[in-house]
Symmetry: C2
């Protein structure tokens, strides 16, 4: 399937929804992809189930603080260079690229790379949402080698990292990213087609596009977008989505720290003096609490939407006074195993709460 121009905005919107507040500004990535399509380049999306076993898939993405990305615009060469680093280290050429996560810019970087290099883009990723750290991948849980990893910045500098420990890869790459000014582009977890099928969350580009389509069109079809989202997601491998809070942003603590955007947003309830909802984030939203109650918890997706349009609001664009709806989405089963929860469950973020999958 070739990606069409009108798909790009829907895909960006849906990716921001699944990105749980992180994943980087979808606007910039969308512009990069549309520029390629307008220049006549094709972007072929391929189903992971049709990949040759010996395909060589090299994921591509951005890492760093989304707050920084807003001001530090990519040159466009960075992810290509990062992929070339992996090719040179392996002595083999990529036959496809794919996302490492679903989230604003990180769903679009592989589309851009695919357009630029003429590589198909696999309709799958390694997080089924966005997470802040590089070891938080189903690829790692399923034993895919995490390196060679290529990393590049907009100044033309780049590096290739080799380690067999995904946590060490994250630690070293984050150090480089900080020194690159807080944002860098990378390629890691090079995989065979067989590994992609075993180790990825499938069909998440398609999912993002459909979610974006609902958000764009529901009102004109005189439907409630939140109801439509809940009904649609119930039919997917995610299986459950639910509105957990609505209100007004009344406080925001947001800092760019150690290569991440960290903080918390406080949302006061729509009516009366009730308990506010506090959402804590490290790039992505991790936990939503109201008073003593736990409303939703990582790895389930917590996403903040404009209460009128249902357009997702990523954490770097939160501001005082926004009227918002908070939704939670249960993650697919591959992301709820004991091994998965060790990699990106509450304890991986220093949270004490016990994860229970979102109930309807």
């Amino acid at each position: 399937m070739n990606l069409e121009l009108q798909d790009v905005d829907d895909l960006c919107t849906g990716a921001a929804f699944l990105g749980a507040g992180g994943g980087g500004d979808p606007h910039i990535g969308g512009l990069m992809v549309k520029q390629q399509l307008r220049a006549g380049r094709r972007i072929e999306i391929v189903d992971p189930d049709t990949l040759a076993d010996d395909a060589l898939v090299m994921p591509t993405a951005m890492m760093g603080a989304p707050t920084v990305l807003l001001e530090k615009i990519p040159s466009g060469e960075e992810p290509l260079r990062a992929l070339r680093c992996v090719e040179e280290a392996l002595g083999r050429r990529a036959t496809a690229t794919m996302p490492t996560e679903v989230g604003g810019i990180n769903s679009t970087i592989p589309l851009y790379v695919g357009a630029r290099l003429g590589l198909p883009v696999v309709d799958a990723d390694g997080q089924g949402r966005a997470f802040p750290e590089l070891q938080m991948e189903t690829f790692a849980i399923e034993g895919v080698a995490c390196t060679p990893m290529g990393i590049a910045d907009e100044k033309g500098d780049y590096a290739t990292i080799c380690t067999d420990d995904p946590h060490r890869m994250e630690w070293i790459a984050r150090g480089i990213t900080i020194r690159c000014g807080g944002v860098a582009y990378f390629s890691n977890y090079p995989m065979s087609g067989a590994e992609v099928r075993r180790a990825s969350v499938k069909h998440t580009l398609t999912l993002a596009r459909r979610i974006g389509h609902i958000i764009r069109t529901a009102r004109s079809r005189r439907q409630d977008p939140f109801e439509e989202l809940e009904a649609f997601i119930a039919t997917t491998s995610y299986g459950a989505a639910r509105r957990i809070f609505s209100g007004k942003v009344v406080d925001l603590d947001r800092q760019t720290l150690e290569g991440f955007t960290r903080g918390a947003v406080t949302i006061a309830p729509d009516r009366g003096p009730g308990r506010p909802c506090v959402i804590t984030f490290q790039n992505e939203n991790l936990v939503a609490r109201a008073g003593g109650d736990l409303l939703a918890l990582v790895p389930d997706i917590i996403t903040v939407l404009d209460v009128e349009t249902a357009v997702p609001i990523t954490n770097e664009t939160l501001r005082y006074g926004q009227r918002v709806m908070v939704m939670a989405v249960r993650v697919p089963e591959i992301m709820r195993s004991p091994a998965a929860l060790r990699q990106f469950g509450p304890a991986a973020f220093g949270l004490d709460e016990i994860y229970e999958p979102l109930a309807l």
Copy 2:
């Protein structure tokens, strides 16, 4: 010329002298080299003037905070791996290695690498002393490409950095070093034999060995080691050395910050209440002041010696109560050009004083 076991201690002592308080603990490097010689391996020292023009020389060294090195012992594989990174990036094998600087461990790492890999070690370096940062090299001043750079840690992790800017190389590699725990091993500025001849400070391994020999034997020959050092250095390309202060260490401010050992040592004069000498360091000693007077200034070498034995005291082993002699050594002419002073003169360290070469 093959390095003999009895040369190693002299070389370490002399390298610590020229290392200006930095360069890393010579004890550890000396042990590594002696272990190789005792195991029957040879270490061939070659004169840069005899190198083939198309030789491929890959310098090897340690970087980071010497305070950390004291507790974080190398596995011995790190510098070999760093050199292999450069070989793989260039697609060519090294025909020799060499020091990047003269200084404790960094004069011995290439000897160890030479022993392990059967490579000759060139009798030259890129600093004629030790400096804290990777762009502070005569190699950079003379236009040698600074990367590909390999960097490796004791955990088996490694990376290859590519940039054409030596300051960016330093910045990114320092970030990696911090994430590796404060010490890492590297290879950079791969050079042809012709480049080594043009861009290096020559015969500094030999110089270090001779200085170490004077320090070890002067007392038994009933000579004053300080007088002998001054007389000997006057005959070399350095041309001038002078005692600038003696006294007792009465204060020490030493921190491990941003991948460096930073601080200042205060030395009270031997007799009476006179002005103390304050030496400020970033790994290496940068400036020695007493009251309003400037005693010595980077790039000239400021080195602190035990007042009885003339054994150099590196900054990570300074402690209260040590009785010391401070000597200053003028650097060779290649290191005093306007281009050289831009790279490692006072302003490069944020110092306001104007450099005047040490006068006798």
